[in-house]
Symmetry: C2
Subunit: 471 residues, 2 copies
């Protein structure tokens, strides 16, 4: 039996997709940077089928690239031309297996869409707190493979902190059943956290036990204006003192970026009459319906005004106003799609260097490309600043021109990030896009250990080869 | 130059301890289960000295066992007779390197005593939340190597969740500088979390960046009486709904254990007139000095009474009363030292199976040893129950008799833990003591991966050999 026939025998004919038309949706990434390649796309319906498919590929030494909702930003789910392999989509595996209200856990197939998991949790009067703009289509397996971040990480952490247990099919086809609901487990090395953020290179996550939290019952949302990042951080310290972990989002947008949003996104209006230097979107939530969050927020804002850390502030009086604030924040991606060619970055540096980082990025990029705009938007509480370099439409005559400028800007930003002891990729990962930058900016000893781990898990290098590492 | 002379050249003569008298304090564990062996104890004063010592050992293929405060409960810091190696104590490396109030981080040498780190944080109006009974002498490096748990893990997590960055000396002597203050970093595999909980078998942690939290300014402590573990869990759900993450401790002691504490520990008295089945110690903290925690606690307790989940409750009216409640909780270790020969366990099972776990342990152990007492105390919010089997003084004629009974009880408890999808060691680790139990209860595939990782990091097997794995 040939390879395709064997696949068909495992998952059924309709779950082996091999015509160009049917494969098309899997063959390019959401940013349309890459054109992928694959023998076929396989859609297994169970963990056992995944295992059987992987065993078959192991025998034939055929590479496997797992794909989730295909919302990744670094080409991690793009199949390579050589060696030509298969794409493995988990979208048929989308069951919620179990919810435990006593344990505050939900056990789900990796193919579940994030928003569906959020909804099941909400229906059970709980919160699953991972929240990001792709939540309507990204899948839990992808969130785990890329260790996603999002807009509530300041309170609930990144995906790593929301996973208790994993079921994984190893590159040998063996099934590792680690679907434990345990918050404490010291039985040897932390294998679980190796899979999280490994971008499909160590195995295929087929299911996960995720943490739930009490559902928020009180919320206060405020838009603030500050003159500097350091003032924003002083406000953060005040907020944490007043609310503790209840500070759920602390997002920060620079005025130049806010202008681009206001120009390019429908149904937006400036939050204040006077243009501020930086805008903060602060959201605080409490599971107690009687929490007096607005009162505490007012007291805290007064204190911030007294200390001259704030220039303007408005507390949302209703959901519509809170939504309008969030629309401004979430508008950043749409805005740049309309505004012109751009390169966006995903860096983290320590919080006390965020201001220096933004300033140096603007200076150094501005010195090389005086005509561009350097825009900043940050999950400030996490130290994660996205720098977007925006050019006028038509600035680059060819894709090669754009690529050359992009590479130069990468180098400029990476130099600053390394100097400030930061990370070149805070939440997006490495994938295909940033392998060179990882190799350049990492300690070679660490890369050696990573490659050693890879060879232990995947000695034949069939799991998503060509990702993370250059060679 | 011979090996000892070379060591002396690195760290100085006074920092190579080799007489039996001076080595004695390092040669047995706190439970006095083991007699250790070593060529000498080396006390380096810097990361560079650690690196030089390790390089020397690497050349001579001499094993290294790192030792912190020597408070571990599983013999992880015990040197073996063969192959005979050195003990490496980090107690001279006890500097706080940096504290950042903006980042809410503290960077410390691994030899810092936990309580000193707590104190430095408190002096800076912050909280370092790791808290356990050995905090006066255990060291941060040991907390990291064993992924310690403690009494506030329900809110702040175990040690793994409190570490942002690590500096590690690898078994090659290479220094891995990962002292990053980042809350988001997706540059490849999660090497950091491999070191955490690896019990000194993958390298020597020399420094760490730890998370700080706002200092608590309001606190409410309550002692509650409930009739069953399920009722206790219902109370936990109510508390989480009312207080969210502010539930900081949720400790649970069975009546039989409370009796042993009351009999054997000074300055204790029963919290209620009527003996309850289970006692809960609940502590809630808030960084806001004006938080109305006592009001919310009263409302929540009323609700719990209405739902018939509680039989008794008292809110501490002052610090002395709160201390008295904690004295009862912390008295569990002292109590059994006085009460008779005992075996204590450290299991976790899902929260919704805690009650079944306690019940089955009492039944199955009672069936085999009808004369013993099976005592239970739990960090219930973490699903971590310690079962202590207590015998009358003189019950075992020889240490071998004790050992044989202990091994039987291990088997009984492990069978239940495995059946309930739990962990045989929730917070104490494996070390020397539980290697056989790990090998017996783990998935062989997972053990194979762990050993593969070990060989990548430590190909000559010089880092704490004989720990974790049987061979």
């Amino acid at each position: 039996m040939d390879f395709i026939a064997s696949l068909t025998a495992i998952v059924g004919a309709r779950n082996v997709v091999s015509t160009p038309e049917d494969m098309a949706q899997f063959m390019t990434d959401v940013r349309r940077t890459y054109q992928g390649h694959a023998r076929c796309v396989v859609l297994p319906g169970s963990t056992q089928e995944v295992s059987d498919v992987v065993k078959l590929c192991d025998r034939h030494q055929i590479p496997i690239t797992p794909i989730g909702g295909n919302t990744g930003l670094v080409g991690g789910a793009i199949g390579l031309e050589s060696p030509l392999g298969i794409l493995l989509s988990l979208k048929r595996m989308n069951r919620v297996r179990e919810i435990s209200l006593v344990d505050d856990t939900i056990t789900v197939d990796a193919g579940c869409v994030l928003q569906d998991v959020q909804q099941v949790a909400a229906d059970a009067d709980r919160l699953f707190p991972m929240s990001l703009s792709a939540e309507g289509s990204c899948q839990i397996g992808g969130n785990i493979a890329t260790n996603s971040g999002g807009v509530q990480a300041i309170r609930y952490g990144v995906m790593r902190e929301l996973v208790l247990g994993l079921e994984v099919v190893l590159p040998t086809g063996e099934i590792l059943d680690g679907l434990l609901k345990l918050r404490k487990d010291n039985t040897g090395y932390d294998i679980r956290d190796l899979f999280i953020g490994s971008e499909g290179t160590l195995g295929i996550v087929t299911a996960a036990v995720l943490k739930l939290y009490p559902a928020p019952k009180s919320v206060v949302t405020a838009m603030l204006a500050v003159q500097s990042v350091d003032d924003a951080l002083a406000v953060l310290t005040l907020m944490r003192g007043a609310f503790g972990e209840r500070v759920t989002s602390f997002e920060c947008t620079h005025a130049d970026y806010m202008d681009v949003v206001l120009e390019n996104v429908h149904n937006t209006r400036a939050p204040f009459e006077t243009r501020a230097e930086w805008y903060l979107l602060v959201e605080v939530m409490d599971s107690n319906p009687d929490a007096d969050l607005a009162d505490i927020m007012e007291t805290t804002l007064e204190k911030a005004f007294e200390q001259e850390k704030l220039t303007d502030a408005v507390i949302a009086q209703n959901q519509a106003q809170a939504d309008a604030f969030w629309h401004l924040r979430h508008g950043v991606s749409e805005a740049i799609r309309h505004a012109g060619p751009n390169m966006s970055h995903d860096s983290s540096v320590p919080l006390d260097r965020q201001g220096v980082f933004a300033e140096r990025a603007r200076q150094d990029i501005g010195a090389r490309f005086p005509e561009c705009k350097v825009l900043c938007v940050a999950h400030l509480g996490d130290g994660n600043m996205h720098i977007v370099v925006l050019f006028k439409p038509g600035r680059f005559e060819t894709p090669a021109d754009y690529k050359a400028a992009s590479a130069e800007i990468d180098e400029i930003i990476d130099a600053i990030v390394v100097d400030l002891a930061g990370s070149i990729t805070a939440e997006h990962g490495i994938g295909l896009s940033y392998r060179g930058r990882l190799a350049k900016t990492s300690d070679p000893v660490e890369i050696r250990l990573m490659k050693g781990i890879k060879s232990v898990f995947d000695p034949k290098n069939i799991m998503n080869p060509g990702k993370l590492f250059l060679d």
